[in-house]
């Protein structure tokens, strides 16, 4: 019995971080209808920023978040203004090319700037853990999980209860009607893209003390986020969170009982099974991938 609880805990902790990465991606898709293939590279960038703030200035990753998250927010604004906005009215394939090209460009830029070495943020508390009965719980993983869930809930509350949140939701539902009722849709797009980048910045800060970073780290992690976004229902924050946690738990159990090399195989089987029964994912709306359908 103990082993099941320990595996579930490990899975949930990792799943929390998957969820936070996925939430930014699904938010951007839900509002802008753009699949941002460079989302993972923003994660890599934020992890490198955290590493250099830690290494050069001695800033603890949690303190560094006060710098990293705003930087990612601003980078999001800039990217939206310079690249994404120009493609919004273009066919989907153009958006795919643009964000995919951005992803390749950033990966290679990181290679030139930072080389392909793995960099590790080594804090004194990186491996601190406590015991509850027979269970071992890593402080950092617990904090990362709690912060991921807290940020996701905060985002949901912001969308639900603030005026800006309502405007974002309105834009997501129908961009033309939103414009008709006086919402500055361009501003909403910029803000949403920036929030998506800031969220992945927060995920990076939480991930940096746990996991070494190199130019491909984001690309490796983003596959899981794409699965979570589709499984949860494209554009659904609750769906992405649930799917992120589920994938974490599936990975944990399948690597223990079937072997570590089987875990992707297992969650893709689950992914295909769920989509064949419910093609829109957990909380997706039918036709969400088509522009301006409500």
């Amino acid at each position: 019995m103990d082993i099941y609880v320990q595996l579930a805990l490990s899975g949930l902790f990792v799943g929390g971080i998957y969820a936070l990465i996925s939430v930014g991606l699904t938010l951007v898709f839900g509002v802008l209808r753009v699949v941002n293939f460079a989302h993972g590279e923003y994660l890599t960038l934020a992890m490198f920023l955290t590493f250099f703030l830690f290494h050069q200035l001695g800033l603890d990753p949690f303190v560094a978040s006060l710098i990293v998250v705003p930087i990612l927010f601003v980078l999001g604004l800039i990217t939206e203004r310079l690249l994404i906005r120009r493609t919004l009215e273009a066919p989907h394939v153009v958006q795919v090319f643009v964000t995919f090209a951005l992803s390749l460009f950033l990966q290679n830029l990181f290679l030139v700037l930072f080389t392909s070495d793995f960099r590790t943020v080594r804090t004194d508390y990186a491996t601190a853990a406590f015991e509850i009965g027979p269970f071992y719980i890593s402080w950092l993983r617990l904090i990362a999980f709690a912060a991921s869930i807290a940020l996701t809930v905060a985002l949901a509350l912001f969308l639900k209860h603030s005026y800006m949140g309502a405007a974002i939701r309105a834009t997501a539902q129908d961009r033309r009607s939103a414009r008709l009722v006086g919402i500055d849709v361009d501003r909403i797009y910029a803000l949403t893209f920036a929030i998506g980048c800031a969220l992945v910045g927060a995920a990076a800060v939480l991930l940096a003390p746990l996991y070494p970073v190199n130019p491909y780290t984001g690309a490796d992690l983003i596959l899981v986020a794409f699965v979570a976004v589709v499984l949860g229902g494209m554009g659904s924050i609750a769906g992405a969170t649930l799917a992120g946690l589920l994938i974490g738990v599936i990975e944990s159990f399948s690597s223990y009982f079937l072997g570590g090399e089987m875990k992707q195989f297992v969650y893709f089987i689950v992914f295909m099974a769920i989509l064949s029964l419910r093609p829109v994912g957990f909380f997706g709306r039918k036709g969400a991938e088509v522009m301006d359908v409500t």
Partner: protein, 419 residues
């Protein structure tokens, strides 16, 4: 591969090679410099090892040129950036066509080495491999492709051997009672190396309590740690890259699990990044690897002066102490230029091949303690892996005797934070 199958493939290859060389390629020039093409990943994901290898070869070229070249002819090393297998193919062809290179060396990774050697063979050129370990590399029936470095078994076998010959005694057990867990990342590298470790353990009568693979891209190895904890091996033998090697150590520490001994089989455990990431907890961890340094007493007198030259030149040029990859590159370069090209003076690919098959260089002739004698498939039989241990955050050779610089310490492993 048997001789029969080699024969069936060879006429085709030879035909293709003859056609291309007659049509467009200059034959091995008797005058002018000797041209060598180095196909390594110099940018991109594999560039750390690729550049280190290349730098080692370059030092060998410089040293030989400063000593007067090969019969008065200078050696020129051309760079080919094989950052992906596709790039390796086009770079090999570029050097063949544009520079008239007929001798190649490489490659740091098996993916690059496999295709670069295939292109060289197809064009009737000579190919000399250093670090690619895939077992298939020498099993393709190629005629002019040789590997002076280790195969996967060369990395995988020393770990169980060391457990049987040294660790069992230090853990106060007989090798019959000892149980090991063999874990590996699931690319061809991890699969090949760990399966030779399993085979060697079985041969030695060591019980393999767990043989488990996982993806190196994982963010969570705690299920594996739980499994290791329940299996309770006397030693863990792990084939890992850097990020997963670091992750495993950290998660073992988080979950308060500590095996009596931990042996990595490269690549992650033999890098400075590994030590930087886990700090003093690295002390006591073993890694089977290319020999990073040989005990000078085991080297031939002229090799001792090569070793001093290499260390001096490398540090003057790059301002750091050379590690495993750099010294391997130097060995690859010295073996190829001095002992193959030097012996086959002025010869074409076939002459180089004959020189390689005739080579009989005793152990201790290269700075890492190796010698050179090829089997019929083109694998160097006098290359061997060694065991290093992290002591005071430095890698120190502890096995075999020819390379031993210090006795092993910290067996069984002390608690986390007390190493």
């Amino acid at each position: 591969m048997t001789t029969a199958t080699r024969r069936s493939i060879l006429p085709m290859l030879a035909g293709a090679a003859a056609a291309t060389s007659v049509l467009s390629r200059p034959s091995f020039a008797q005058e002018g410099p000797i041209k060598i093409g180095g196909i390594f990943p110099l940018t991109g994901a594999g560039s750390v090892f690729g550049n280190q290898n290349f730098q080692g070869v370059e030092i060998a070229v410089d040293l030989i040129n400063d000593r007067g070249g090969i019969n008065g002819r200078k050696v020129v090393l051309f760079k080919g950036d094989g950052h992906t297998p596709q790039a390796a193919i086009s770079e090999t062809n570029r050097l063949l066509a544009r520079e008239g290179v007929r001798i190649f060396t490489g490659s740091s990774t098996s993916a690059v080495g496999m295709v670069a050697s295939q292109e060289a063979e197809r064009n009737g050129a000579f190919y000399w491999e250093g670090m690619a370990v895939a077992n298939d590399f020498t099993a393709r029936g190629f005629k002019n492709v040789f590997r002076v470095g280790l195969d996967a078994g060369g990395l995988g076998r020393p770990a169980p051997l060391y457990v049987a010959e040294a660790l069992a005694g230090l853990l106060k057990k007989s090798s019959k009672d000892i149980r090991i867990a063999i874990i590996a990342e699931d690319s061809a590298f991890g699969v090949d190396v760990s399966s030779t470790a399993v085979a060697e353990a079985k041969k030695l009568g060591i019980a393999v309590a767990l043989h488990e693979l996982y993806s190196a891209k994982t963010t969570d190895l705690s299920p594996l740690v739980l499994k290791l904890r329940s299996v309770k091996p006397d030693a863990i033998v792990a084939t890992q890259f850097i990020n997963d090697a670091v992750l495993l150590q950290r998660q073992m520490k988080e979950m308060r699990y500590r095996p009596p001994a931990f042996i990595g089989t490269s690549a992650g455990h033999s890098t400075l990044s590994f030590a930087e990431a886990i700090g003093d907890d690295v002390n006591g961890i073993f890694s089977s690897s290319y020999p990073n340094d040989a005990n000078p007493d085991g080297l031939l007198p002229e090799t001792r002066s090569d070793r001093e030259e290499f260390l001096k030149r490398y540090q003057a040029k790059y301002k750091v102490v050379p590690a495993v990859q750099e010294s391997l590159g130097f060995v690859v370069g010295m073996a190829l230029i001095r002992d193959i090209i030097g012996k086959a003076m002025g010869a074409d690919t076939a002459g180089l091949r004959d020189a390689a098959l005739a080579a009989d260089v005793p152990a201790g002739s290269y700075i890492n303690g190796w010698g050179m004698k090829f089997d019929e498939k083109g694998q160097n039989l006098r290359a061997f892996g060694s065991m290093v241990q992290w002591q005071s955050r430095r890698m120190v050779s502890v096995y075999p005797a020819a390379n031993k610089m210090a006795d092993p310490i910290l067996v069984p492993l002390p608690a986390w934070g007390a190493r």
